[in-house]
């Protein structure tokens, strides 16, 4: 046995082999988060003539394990902005606290104009870009929905790289593949926004949530949905998917020629 102080606290070489001293090296490159752990799936949103509808389900997955089923991923910032979070839940919570402290500081200087959705999107995009530039990204894809300074509908995204987008309809994660094409059928361009009512937009988004539940293996049938318009924010956090279509399974027999 080696009783030298240098060997204290180290596994025995004769049992475990020589100790890998690179573990103690601090000079090498610092590595940060390489992947998210507890994750939320898609967020989807669509503008309509008076505002924006945004939705996300209430599931937080741990790999393929549906670990937490009560995670609310839409955050109301004030009466005209809602942020939807896809990706890592711990980073979502960090951003939630960051927005909270931002709101506290905003409150100190009593200006009469509160932060609008456009301001908040600019801020969050810069936070995301700063973190990716530090090689320590916040593993999220955000949708910022609400009203701009002219009280016009505003919808934009910011992702873990700090990339930003704006469009009449947006979707993150699986939703970008599955929901976005459906949303674009009704809202192909900015001018089409004027033709869509709140009710139509809500119905459209709910339909997309259903498709996502059918086809996204990391989704669930409980979700949150928010409507932002001049009247403020209507946020419902315990919605259940309705009018699902499963009964046709009865007619499905075998996988080709079988009929019984």
């Amino acid at each position: 046995m080696n009783h030298l102080p240098q060997a204290w606290g180290r596994p025995r070489d004769d049992v475990y082999g020589a100790y890998d001293h690179s573990h103690f090296q601090t000079a090498g490159p610092i590595q940060h988060t390489q992947s998210p752990i507890v994750t939320g799936t898609s967020v989807i949103a669509a503008k309509f003539k008076d505002g924006v509808v945004i939705a996300a389900d209430n599931l937080a997955s741990y790999g393929s394990l549906a670990r937490f089923t009560d995670v609310k991923r839409l955050r109301k910032f004030n009466d005209q902005v809602v942020v939807g979070f896809g990706g890592d839940v711990s980073d979502m919570q960090y951003l939630d606290r960051l927005l909270n402290s931002l709101d506290v500081r905003e409150n100190y200087s009593s200006s009469d104009t509160p932060m609008n959705a456009k301001n908040l999107h600019t801020y969050l995009a810069k936070v995301m870009y700063k973190r990716r530039s530090d090689f320590n990204p916040l593993w999220n894809h955000l949708l910022i929905a609400g009203l701009d300074a002219d009280e016009k509908p505003f919808l934009a995204s910011a992702d873990l790289l700090g990339t930003t987008f704006t469009s009449p309809t947006l979707a993150t994660g699986f939703g970008a593949h599955l929901a976005q094409p459906i949303l674009r059928r009704s809202l192909p361009d900015e001018s089409s926004v004027q033709n869509v009512t709140k009710e139509e937009a809500v119905e459209l988004v709910k339909e997309c949530m259903k498709v996502l539940f059918y086809r996204d293996a990391r989704s669930m049938d409980k979700y949150s949905i928010a409507v932002i318009s001049k009247g403020g924010v209507e946020l419902r956090e315990d919605e259940k998917l309705e009018n699902q279509s499963w009964a046709f399974a009865e007619r499905i027999r075998g996988y080709g020629t079988q009929t019984v």
């Binding site: 596994p11 025995r12 049992v15 475990y16 082999g17 100790y19 890998d20 573990h23 590595q31 940060h32 988060t33 390489q34 992947s35 998210p36 752990i37 507890v38 937080a60 741990y62 790999g63 393929s64 394990l65 670990r67 937490f68 995670v71 890592d88 839940v89 711990s90 980073d91 979502m92 919570q93 960090y94």
Partner: protein, 228 residues
């Protein structure tokens, strides 16, 4: 330094190289539940290095304040260090603010440590506590450092085997006896199916009357000796 773990399509793969060679790992079954009068924490007692059982009577239930406890899973060294730091903070809080810290305060500090050091830690913690104002509360902090308030929480490698058991048998507002039976039944299943869990079942019951330890031994079919 290596990443903490890999998230594959079929679940988390803990990167065993990250656990420094020979490091002690709590391949574990831990849980905490709310019941009518407070909370119950429970854990198995197996600690392994690879397939070798380094300790067969481990105490994974750790006190961080009078009636705030935690269950530790992941690296033994990491979780002990985190628990020690939280214990220090809560001790200071109690003295400087002339009132005991709430379970929320404990959960917040655990979360801050687990989140801001996520790159170097492998720690999965469950925090459970009781205080007169808030009653019993259970919080879960999984690997990335997120914080989840739950009715009951399960964790560690053994927990994956008992999601079904717990979801089926869980009831809100159970009596103490029912709560103990629930925890014991769940941990017995976890120990049965998970090679990294085993040994005795330890529990701590936290209520208005303080902390009460329980012990259940495999050679007594986990029937006793019970309260300590």
């Amino acid at each position: 330094m290596q990443a903490t773990g890999m998230l594959g399509e079929d679940g988390i793969h803990v990167d065993m190289n990250h656990l420094k060679k020979g490091e002690v790992n709590l391949g574990t079954s831990i849980m905490a539940i709310n019941f009518k009068d407070g909370v119950i924490l429970g854990a198995d007692s197996r600690t392994t290095t690879g397939a070798y059982i380094a300790n067969r009577v481990t105490d994974k239930l750790t006190q961080v304040h009078d009636t705030i406890w935690c269950c530790r899973s992941g690296s033994a060294a990491d979780t002990q260090a985190v628990a020690d730091i939280v214990q220090y903070h809560l001790g200071m809080y109690g003295i400087t603010n002339n009132e005991p810290p709430s379970t929320q305060t404990a959960a917040a500090i655990f979360q801050e440590l687990c989140y801001s050091n996520k790159d170097q830690l492998s720690a999965g913690m469950i925090i459970a506590g009781y205080d007169h104002r808030h009653g019993g509360q259970v919080y879960s902090i999984p690997l990335g450092g997120s914080l989840h308030k739950q009715a009951y929480a399960i964790g560690g490698s053994g927990s994956t085997y008992i999601y079904g058991y717990c979801d089926s048998y869980w009831q809100e507002n159970m009596s103490e006896a029912e709560g103990i039976q629930f925890v014991k039944g769940a941990l017995q299943e976890a120990i049965k199916w998970d090679g990294s869990s085993g040994g005795v079942i330890r529990m701590v019951v936290l209520t208005a009357s303080g902390a009460q330890r329980h012990l259940y031994l495999p050679d007594q079919a986990y029937k006793g000796p019970g309260k300590q």
